[in-house]
Subunit: 143 residues, 2 copies
Amino acid sequence: MSANSRLTIAAHALTWIGLYQRRGHEVASSEQIATSVNTNPVVIRRLLGELRKAGLADSRRGAGAGWMLARDLAAITLLDVYQAIEPGPVFALHRATPDPECVVGHGIGPAMTAVYEDVEAALCRELAKTTLEDVLRDILKAA
Amino acid sequence: MSANSRLTIAAHALTWIGLYQRRGHEVASSEQIATSVNTNPVVIRRLLGELRKAGLADSRRGAGAGWMLARDLAAITLLDVYQAIEPGPVFALHRATPDPECVVGHGIGPAMTAVYEDVEAALCRELAKTTLEDVLRDILKAA
DNA sequence: GCCGTTGTAACAACTATGGTTACGATGAGG
DNA sequence: CCTCATCGTAACCATAGTTGTTACAACGGC
């Protein structure tokens, strides 16, 4: 799979907005965020649109438009962000149904599904440990 | 991302070989395995080739050729298989370097890297809990 | 009405995966 | 030493997801 940087970009964008607001600004434009991320503003708008649907960000249109956080950085975990961007599952079963006449072909699906559910759960537990406030603290500490 | 079924196929192939050998056969052909997996024999040979490099499987050429396990099913964990097929990382950093002049752009990389390492470690711990013997037991129990 | 910004569609480039065909290399058995 | 089933591998195509880009309509404070 091509490596997936969506979570990195989303966390970057939200953290940037959080710091910008903390410095007294009301809203941040996708252009400003894109400059920090080093990508195209449309990429940022697309991603922030998904985060808005999940209730993590909000936007204003018209003049004086831009983006703001819907919740405080401390109230957003990386799991929230991960689930907001709805990634495909890390592992998948067979593309084509295996031979149901074969014992292994018949039983491998449920067996692997059980394992994959445990793995995804562990992954989510780990992501839930870190908030964007933690991320910002790390960033400011290292600077 | 297109969902990744490589681990599923690899586990299926190895488990199939293990059961086949347990029933008294010396080697399994990629053709037989491909029938159970419902795919092309070349796909199986490609994947088993990677597993052989990792010391999990072995093959014989010439007449009476085919595949066998290099270790017992009980001595192969899903983590062994996962590492053998060398998947790309689940998460990646930015594709283009973020703005180093920006506090967030400068510090976000190390901060996210630390999190991603913890996540991968948790994922590996979870995969290491299950051996192919466990998988085969589940399969036979459900049949 | 002006103008900067969002919202969104459309398209191209790139990558990973999976399926397929083709063919040389191998090596036990006759 | 010939045969033949099978491996080993290259080459190619289709599909799908991600990212970057251009273009343009919609919005709304001024």
